[in-house]
Subunit: 519 residues, 2 copies
Amino acid sequence: MAEAEAATRARARGGRRARQALRSAPQFDMLPGLERNLPLCEPMSEEQIRRIDDASMAILEEVGCVFRDPIALADWRRAGADVRGDRVHLDRGLVRDLIATIPERFTYLARDPAKSVALGGRSAIFVPMTGAPYLRDLEDRRRLPTLEDLAMFHKLAHMAPALHSSAHHIVEPMDIPVSHRHLHITYSSIRHSDKTFMGMTTSPKNAEDVLDMAAILFGADTLERQPVITGNCNGNSPLVWDETMLGAMRAFCRRNQPVLCSPFVLGGANTPASMVPTVVQLNAEALAGLAYTQVIRKGCPAVYGHYLATVSMASGAPMAGTPEISLMNFMIGQMARFYGVPWRTSNTLGGAKVLDAQAGYESAATLSAVLHAGANYIWHSAGWNEAGMHCSVAKFMVDAEQCAMGHRMASGLRWDDFDEALAAVRDVGPGGHYLGHPHTQANFQRAFFMPKLFDNNAVEQWQAEGAIETPERALRLARKWLGDYEAPPLDEAIDEALKDYIARRSREIPAVDELNQQH
Amino acid sequence: MAEAEAATRARARGGRRARQALRSAPQFDMLPGLERNLPLCEPMSEEQIRRIDDASMAILEEVGCVFRDPIALADWRRAGADVRGDRVHLDRGLVRDLIATIPERFTYLARDPAKSVALGGRSAIFVPMTGAPYLRDLEDRRRLPTLEDLAMFHKLAHMAPALHSSAHHIVEPMDIPVSHRHLHITYSSIRHSDKTFMGMTTSPKNAEDVLDMAAILFGADTLERQPVITGNCNGNSPLVWDETMLGAMRAFCRRNQPVLCSPFVLGGANTPASMVPTVVQLNAEALAGLAYTQVIRKGCPAVYGHYLATVSMASGAPMAGTPEISLMNFMIGQMARFYGVPWRTSNTLGGAKVLDAQAGYESAATLSAVLHAGANYIWHSAGWNEAGMHCSVAKFMVDAEQCAMGHRMASGLRWDDFDEALAAVRDVGPGGHYLGHPHTQANFQRAFFMPKLFDNNAVEQWQAEGAIETPERALRLARKWLGDYEAPPLDEAIDEALKDYIARRSREIPAVDELNQQH
């Protein structure tokens, strides 16, 4: 009884003045990019890292990696690889020489330069989920999304302090023909937020369109100098890179823009049923993709990526938040740092159908793991549920607040008021209390994170307020935020040029609704 | 779309044979005590650890700690402390000399010796929550608990593989007079499980009764040689230890049984509104308690404890799963290791009123933090919700499975099938799949943790099965387990002796229903 009851009694002592101060307007200022200041979880010794590296390199040399793309095969021949049919055998010396020119760290330029964010080393960013074919909307109904729904998510991403990017197709705008979507998705990312964003890689030509739009926004010469947009290219595990992805990769690299080289791993299905060897294979696949970025353009930024779930052998379903995924993230972080390349992981993955306890456990376990792993590009950080089949507005809000908490945790300890606070201990003395002390009054706002979306009141108060559970609390906050939304400024001439580009390309590209995406 | 859709398509490929194998009987064998094999999260430098130590020692020397207990004050005088009124000023040399005799590591003897577990260093155990004045029962109804409800939780604790203890009053048996409860609680812990357990510290005399019962079970001479039971003594922050707790502490230490010396900290209310100084105060309080255990009996085992929440200045409510609590756990772990003493923390704390997403986020964030912090005695590991005001059967089940996942994660990497699994990579080759490979068939059961309580099926299947959310899934499993429960053997003569003891003490102690507990 002791601890539970005492905790509850303490509630009564909350300071009235403090409560009033906290009822102020919501705060939408973006947190700076995370500068991690916590030691990393590194389970492998230097010798074990070299063992993984050696095994991955041996696979690339002896088994090889398939590039299903004539241009890439020709590129590889010119680069000196041993190409046999569509299988490229990569010598470890060649791989090391190529990846050596990938920048260890770079800074994304955002439209609002104050929202530019560094990536690599200790620097990390939180990026919302993307790619959901359904959403759970502001009424928590599961349905097909529209371009308007996508705009709503871009607005929420713009306002959420801990999200550093508006990403791209958080949800699929199903009311737009498939062949035109990339244009409208990119415009929505740009129009509704001035944070950095992502570019579609659904085909090489789509990628070119997206990069043209980025060039309209920032100027083509800016792209030459600095990353402004991110593409993602998935590998097909085991050991295959396909034509669509490689073509999109070329579009990005040629303009000096980074891609996430992301093997798509379902542990146990397309990798061995074993944790460490799964990392070996994933590492080989990522290295093959990373090396090719430097064949395309030496010195181009690139990011070590992966999508990683383990597969339930009981049902065939992908799982998330499991211990092996955490451990593999720790290992992959060590490998990326060994190669000196920034790395991407996935946050808040999970398979729950609603924002229930399962979703909470899975998402928090994942967030914690990726922070201790030291990931740089922390993708799928808000909204993901149902194995990515829907983006939930409610979950988007909760996850975004969780990222703010993760940001605080990974920023580490503050020692700046150490002596002052200890003076308060002497003032208050044994048996006293701190709520009225000037140090408390001056510091309570920043001392301890107070989540807005979690209810810690007594059950009686919670019942009197309608017994509202997490999803509805989050949806109420989302509605409030959307009422407060202000579009960031966008130069009118640029806006016109973007619209003209979309209009022209929409005339040129037949409006097709079939999914011709390979990934 | 890429990652979400591909993940979903993968589902179809699950192996039928694997599924059948997994439909076997549930497994109730206790996991061995956790032997942590992950590097720790240690945010403080050696110099910062010394700075905390120095500040805590200065508080004990200059401010002192109040012991509201004449026996303790006399003990302290004899031990050479500077006692002024009820305030004991402790010289750092004295504190260091005293805590030096606390064992760094010890092993609890369980009634089933195979379930004995080590504590300290890398060795850790998961212990269920205790102290809930309400429960959410097998029908998810919130109500007052009975002795029968407590028995149910002891049975579930007995069966849950990752729980290493049956604890004591997981819920308060409200149908038993307060003054007799400790007898029936202790009997229930013993009767329904053969794992280690906890002893009530609600008064010095109650503690003596509990220790008498432990002596009946194990033999008085066994207690002299080895820990068999754990008491918890809360300090009253700031800087007070009270008579009830100190009396109970004396009862345990005199019989050579360990107590958790746990300052009760509500950060910002009874400590400064600042993270690092809160640890300084908590550390001073824990040291005072630990030092006193060695005044009572030199060499007696003792555990550095704490109950730690931060207080929302907006509502006065205790919070959990916040970044500062994680960071303080990392720091406290470093301090306990600096002093060479095993340490206790709290797991799965949270303030949700139901097992909703909030409960999941809070609990998983806490579990992860305590594992990375390297805690030894991981208390409140199953069932806690509503700031400890109720124990939830559903959450008990989910938390227990989460502890199994945490156990797996903190056990680290396995390299034993490295070469064999890499041979499978060569067999399968680019573009192949692993599900039919002999290595997969031989290893899938142990390769990736498959949570039973999380649904990762497609939404259509989930709906067809009744759209069951996490709480109901967990309650169904709890009902199934209780149907499978088998009581562990208990020597009949010992059982009779325990019952006789309870009967005698129940006659001797007036049946009082008032809460006269000070903590």
